[in-house]
């Protein structure tokens, strides 16, 4: 079982270091709130989609992007009908009238949503979670926090497997665990006892094992892997920060609307 959605690859987006990607994603999210107008929003979206495309994960991103369409749908319906600024009727379906202002607001909200989502997908689909965490720990994030973030990805599948073992053991002794909703609910309680006890015991054992491998030692840490920062990462960072400055300046200094 795989919890992370990371798609391995060797494209330039994959090779970009996690910090640069994190920076790019944050800037994209900030800009989508800073920049006015549909064209700039659509522009950011295009850049994000282009990055997903050149990383070869557009196919994996598509179901996620399509899956949330229900949200924009509600934006259009609710804003189109009841946005306080509604003046000009646009579409009338019998007695139901959608207004232009509300629909436009719905469009802008939709673009924002997809901007945030596709930017986040660059991080989720194209960045190995452990690389991101390691990059953060290198820069002073607490190692304990980093450990929790990584270990959860590995330990949850193991808990799922041990749940299955407990269920099988209970089933083999005649307990009903499948069938109607009520039967499943009743099977849930006896499962929790062993599962929680097991987890508590393993947690203590793992804490001991981490202790003897010096995890709690507060000294300077080193890393097995050398951090790989491709030469174009710096250019990318500068570009991204320039876009941020330009966006903020444009909005508040030069009054883009």
């Amino acid at each position: 079982m795989q919890l992370s959605l990371y798609v391995p690859g060797k494209t330039w987006v994959h090779r970009l270091d996690p910090i640069t990607k994190l920076l790019a994603v944050l800037v994209a999210v900030v800009l989508t709130f800073v920049l006015p107008g549909f064209f700039s929003q659509a522009g950011i979206l295009l850049v994000s989609l282009a990055m997903l495309g050149s990383a070869g994960v557009l196919r994996r991103a598509a179901p996620v992007l399509a899956g949330v369409f229900i949200l924009p749908l509600t934006f259009f319906v609710v804003q189109g009908l009841v946005y306080p600024g509604n003046v000009h009727p646009a579409v009338a379906l019998g007695p139901v009238v959608f207004y232009r202002e509300g629909l436009l607001l719905g469009l802008s909200l939709t673009l924002r949503l997809y901007n945030i989502l596709s930017a986040a997908l660059i991080l989720v689909l194209v960045t190995r979670p452990s690389d991101l965490v390691e990059a953060l720990v290198r820069r002073g994030a607490p190692p304990r926090l980093g450990y929790v973030m990584i270990a959860v990805l590995q330990i949850i599948p193991i808990m799922v497997a041990s749940t299955q073992t407990i269920l099988d053991a209970q089933r083999s002794r005649g307990m009903e665990t499948e069938g109607s909703l009520w039967v499943r609910i009743r099977a849930f309680l006896p499962l929790m006892g062993p599962l929680v006890t097991n987890s508590l015991i393993s947690t203590e054992e793992r804490a001991l094992a981490l202790e003897v491998r010096g995890f709690a030692g507060g000294g300077k840490r080193t890393f097995l892997k050398d951090e790989q920062i491709p030469p174009y990462a710096m250019a990318m960072r500068i570009l991204v920060l320039a876009a941020l400055v330009l966006g903020i300046g444009g909005r508040w200094l030069w009054g883009w609307r």
Binding site: L208, V212, G214, G219, L224, D226
Partner: protein, 290 residues
């Protein structure tokens, strides 16, 4: 000088009445193989954990006496520091995997990263540890995809890469099948041959007897004996204490096959040697009869 020096060690777990360890003294010399045996709840695990300082630092509780590991007073130094001198391997191979690493190779690096070992030094250490435990071919596998025996060898390799002076193993084969048990015992024997001091708590006395230079017998937190396997297993009081004796020793006892010093053979090789000698002494040997 002894690598590990335990003097009159007494320990009581928090919120418990009795002493888990009651006046234990023994020492481990460089390159020595020491087995710790005793019934369940005799204090074997507690003693193993006391050698790296998990007792008392992790569990708290009341401690008395002294544990000195490679010149370091264990009670006065944090576990992370002692752990560089004394490596500890636990029973359950599964919970010793850190969960923070995705390959066997990276898993071995985990302790080194925590200890701040420079990268250039890390790589030869990891490769050496993997080679000693025969894990080179598995180095790119996920640690969780290994068999029990392989996982336990990985746990040993991970501790070994820290280059401790002593390796302490707390019932390392109790959750393994015979094949995994064989792998782990072979690994311990190989490490000891290369000069590593090994201390292992173990129920499988017949596997321990051929390897151990000395055996420490614990019962109810007290030291019953600390001597060579032959002398320990010659004691008459072991069955009453619930301490297992190698089957070959038990058989020899029933047959009355003794060495001159009154001890019984503890390995099949010794038994064979003694049996041949007895046959020769009986005149001509049984070989001529067929």
């Amino acid at each position: 000088m002894a690598l590990i020096e335990v003097q009159d060690l007494r320990y009581r777990y928090p919120d418990q009445q009795g002493l888990a360890l009651d006046g234990i003294s023994f020492s481990v010399e460089p390159g020595e193989f020491v087995g710790i045996i005793g019934p369940n709840r005799a204090g074997k695990s507690t003693l193993c954990q006391a050698l790296v300082g998990l007792v008392p630092h992790f569990y708290k509780g009341a401690i008395g006496g002294r544990v000195v590991a490679d010149g370091l007073d264990v009670h006065k130094h944090p576990v992370a520091e002692v752990a560089r001198r004394v490596g500890l391997v636990f029973q359950n191979p599964f919970t010793q995997i850190s969960g923070a690493k995705f390959t066997v190779y990276e898993e071995v690096a985990f302790g080194l990263e925590n200890a701040g070992v420079p990268r250039e030094e890390m790589i030869p250490r990891i490769e050496e540890a993997l080679r000693l435990l025969g894990l080179e071919e598995l180095k790119d596998r996920s640690p969780f995809a290994l068999s029990g025996g392989q996982m336990q060898r990985l746990a040993i390799a991970s501790v070994l890469a820290m280059r401790p002076k002593v390796l302490v193993l707390d019932e390392p084969t109790s959750q393994l099948d015979p094949e995994g048990t064989g792998e782990v015992f072979a690994a311990m024997a190989a490490l000891c041959r290369q000069g590593m001091a090994v201390v292992v708590a173990e129920h499988k006395v017949e596997r321990l007897a051929p390897l151990a230079g000395k055996i420490l017998v614990l019962h109810a937190g007290r030291r019953v004996a600390f001597d060579s396997p032959r002398r320990v297993f010659a004691r008459e009081d072991l069955p009453a204490l619930g301490v297992a004796v190698p089957p070959v020793t038990e058989a020899a006892r029933r047959l009355g096959w003794r060495f001159e010093d009154g001890t019984y053979p503890v390995t099949t090789e010794e038994a064979e040697e003694l049996a041949r000698k007895n046959l020769v002494a009986a005149g001509g040997g049984g070989g001529g009869r067929g």
